[in-house]
């Protein structure tokens, strides 16, 4: 099938470029670095506070959440405070300490931070995979063949996604391996979350998998956006700068926006954090997982629609 061969081509080009190996190297370095830092700052069982101490700590924390709940001026702050109290109470009742020894799960949890880094890399690849062909002039040789422009663009988008999945898989699997060797499984507990004051227990590995995937949603969306910008403007720089900026400040900005208007719920970043639906409940009252997924799909379709439209219509005059 032609599309598969085109993807094979894109993959070959990607892995014959130095920049790809630089990215992989930095990611590996990141994984090693967090391991080293955590290794020298481990919480041993002897460091853990006594039952009495942590229960008292939780009671104090609950008082402050209570206050937040009463003074809260928006939905999310209030529901967050309610849920945290529920979790704390659940811990006190069921004797589940919030403190644990450093173990493979705490290490993997830290490495979710690396998804931001993966985001930057995937955005760079997504921005350059089309623009680079225009800059180098190779787009002409690519287009004057029987593959349609749609197939060529599709192969490039799919390759970018595959690259993202590869980086994610490397991070997840390597973190698990390094984590289990260095920190082991001792002292691990369940994962607790609460929605509407209702507490749920989940297995750690399951929840981590969920977190990794949920954190990747914004990467996916921003990659599609970067892909669109670079296809329309044929400029890697604009696409990378804009998308990376949004990757870092997008959700914060949306969070602030959500304080003032419910319309924020239609913005991209109000919906990228799907993890909320499993942990603390929605950002804005009335939002559901289905709603967010639908909004994300609409954004994704728009980004891809404009990419394909411009790529197909444009005259190539380089």
């Amino acid at each position: 099938m032609l599309l598969l061969k085109l993807i094979q081509n894109e993959w070959m080009k990607l892995f014959n470029r130095v920049s790809t190996y630089v990215m992989l190297g930095i990611l590996l370095l990141g994984i090693v670095l967090t391991a080293v830092v955590i290794f020298f700052n481990q919480t041993e069982s002897s460091d853990l506070p006594s039952e009495e101490d942590w229960k008292q700590e939780l009671t104090i924390s609950n008082e402050s959440y209570k206050q937040t709940e009463e003074e809260a001026f928006n939905y999310f702050t209030e529901s967050y405070a309610i849920n945290q109290q529920a979790i704390n109470n659940y811990r006190i009742e069921n004797n589940i300490s919030p403190h644990e020894e450093t173990n493979v799960w705490t290490y993997m949890d830290t490495n979710i931070l690396l998804i931001q880094l993966i985001g930057v890399f995937v955005i760079i690849v997504g921005s350059s995979i089309v623009a680079h062909e225009f800059n180098k002039g190779t787009i002409k040789l690519l287009l004057v063949r029987s593959a349609s422009r749609n197939q060529i663009l599709a192969s490039k988008f799919i390759t970018t996604l595959l690259f993202g999945i590869l980086l994610l898989a490397i991070t997840f699997v390597l973190s698990f391996i390094i984590g289990s060797i260095l920190f082991g499984f001792d002292g691990s507990s369940v994962h607790l979350s609460a929605i509407d004051g209702e507490v749920t227990e989940r297995s750690r590995i399951l929840f981590l998998g969920l977190s990794y995937l949920a954190s990747s949603v914004s990467v996916l969306m921003l990659t599609a956006m970067a892909f669109m910008i670079s296809t329309i403007f044929r400029s890697e720089t604009i696409a990378i700068a804009l998308s990376v900026m949004l990757l870092f400040i997008g959700s914060t900005a949306t969070g602030i926006l959500a304080l003032f208007t419910d319309w924020a719920k239609y913005s991209l970043f109000a919906n990228t954090n799907l993890e909320l639906y499993f942990t603390d409940g929605p950002l804005i009252e009335g939002m559901t997982l289905g709603f967010s997924v639908a909004v994300l799909i609409v954004y994704l379709i728009l980004f891809l629609f404009f990419s394909f439209l411009f790529f197909k219509k444009r005259d190539v005059s380089i």
Binding site: T138, L141, V144, S146, D315
Partner: protein, 306 residues
């Protein structure tokens, strides 16, 4: 001649208010090397971009092996192998990987085909080196190899001799002539340097400011019905001139450096020779002045080059 493999019919291209190509029509036939000539900015690259579908045709039609490039792109483009402007290959891939890449985009291109093409363009010994290290001539040759991978019926090369040294140009010329003859494919080469095209092309079209100035055979001056300049060396130029003018009063005739210059067709020259001899003039020699492509080009474009 057989059916044309490429046919342009009243092709126009407008970009904004600029009318870049005006009613351009010409045909290219299998087995010939067709020169597409014109000064810089005449619209050669724009025309080639339209032929390969990189840019839309404003009006008119381009037919490749019976398929319209705008209506039946896939069918039409399968017949074309092309390099538009510079041979831009992937600098970070080796020569072989570049060919593997483009080979994957067509059906039935095997490892052996790739090896064969590398050998044909004399790049076998550097096939595993990165293209970034190649000279322009090597890139040009690799470009031709990639364009020929899928055995197209027409090869389109935009200024392939640009930046090549005389030896490189000669090598390219020999290779293209060989390919046209042996594989029977048509080759369209554009150029603004006419002297390089003379020995390469069978026929040529000249465009200027987007308009076709003329299409002809490189050897057209040998055709019987075209008047060419002939130089007569005789024992008495004045007498010879008078004799000719008395019998043929309409002909263009001049005396230059004690030689007679006559513009006439092959047939007319024949009768002149017989007539002069019969009148007692002694003819030492008659030479047909060969006009270079460049001179004909200047004539056709009224001396305006670029």
């Amino acid at each position: 001649m057989s059916e044309p493999i490429l046919s342009l019919r009243k092709v126009n291209k407008k970009i904004g208010k600029n009318h870049i190509i005006k009613d351009l029509s010409f045909d290219v036939y299998p087995g010939e090397v067709f020169g597409f000539l014109g000064p810089n900015g005449a619209g050669k690259t724009t025309t080639i971009r339209m032929i390969v579908g990189l840019t839309n045709i404003t009006s008119g039609e381009i037919i490749v092996n019976g398929n319209s490039i705008s209506k039946n792109y896939k069918k039409a483009i399968e017949n074309i192998g092309a390099i538009v402007e510079n041979p831009e290959l992937y600098p970070y891939l080796t020569a072989r990987k570049n060919l593997i890449h483009f080979g994957r985009m067509s059906n039935n291109v095997t490892k052996e085909d790739i090896q064969h093409r590398l050998e044909l363009v004399n790049l076998d010994h550097v096939k595993d080196e990165k293209v970034a290290r190649f000279s322009l001539g090597m890139k040009q040759r690799l470009g031709i190899a990639q364009a020929m991978l899928h055995n197209p019926k027409i090869l389109i090369l935009d200024e392939p001799t640009n930046g090549l040294d005389p030896a490189g140009i000669r090598q390219m010329r020999d290779y293209l002539r060989k390919v046209a003859k042996e594989e029977g494919i048509a080759i369209l080469v554009s150029s603004h340097v006419l002297s390089e095209m003379e020995l390469m092309c069978d026929r040529f079209a000249i465009i200027q400011k987007g308009e076709l100035v003329q299409v002809e055979d490189v050897s057209s001056e040998e055709q019987a019905d075209i008047a060419n300049r002939h130089i007569f060396e005789v024992n008495d130029v004045e007498k010879a001139k008078d004799i000719l003018l008395s019998e043929y009063p309409d002909i263009a005739i001049e005396i230059h450096d004690n030689l007679l210059q006559v513009d006439a067709t092959k047939e007319q020259i024949g009768s002149f020779i017989t007539y002069l001899t019969s009148k007692g003039i002694i003819l030492y020699q008659v030479i047909r002045e060969k006009q270079t492509l460049e001179e004909r080009f200047l004539q056709a474009t009224n001396g305006e080059v670029s």
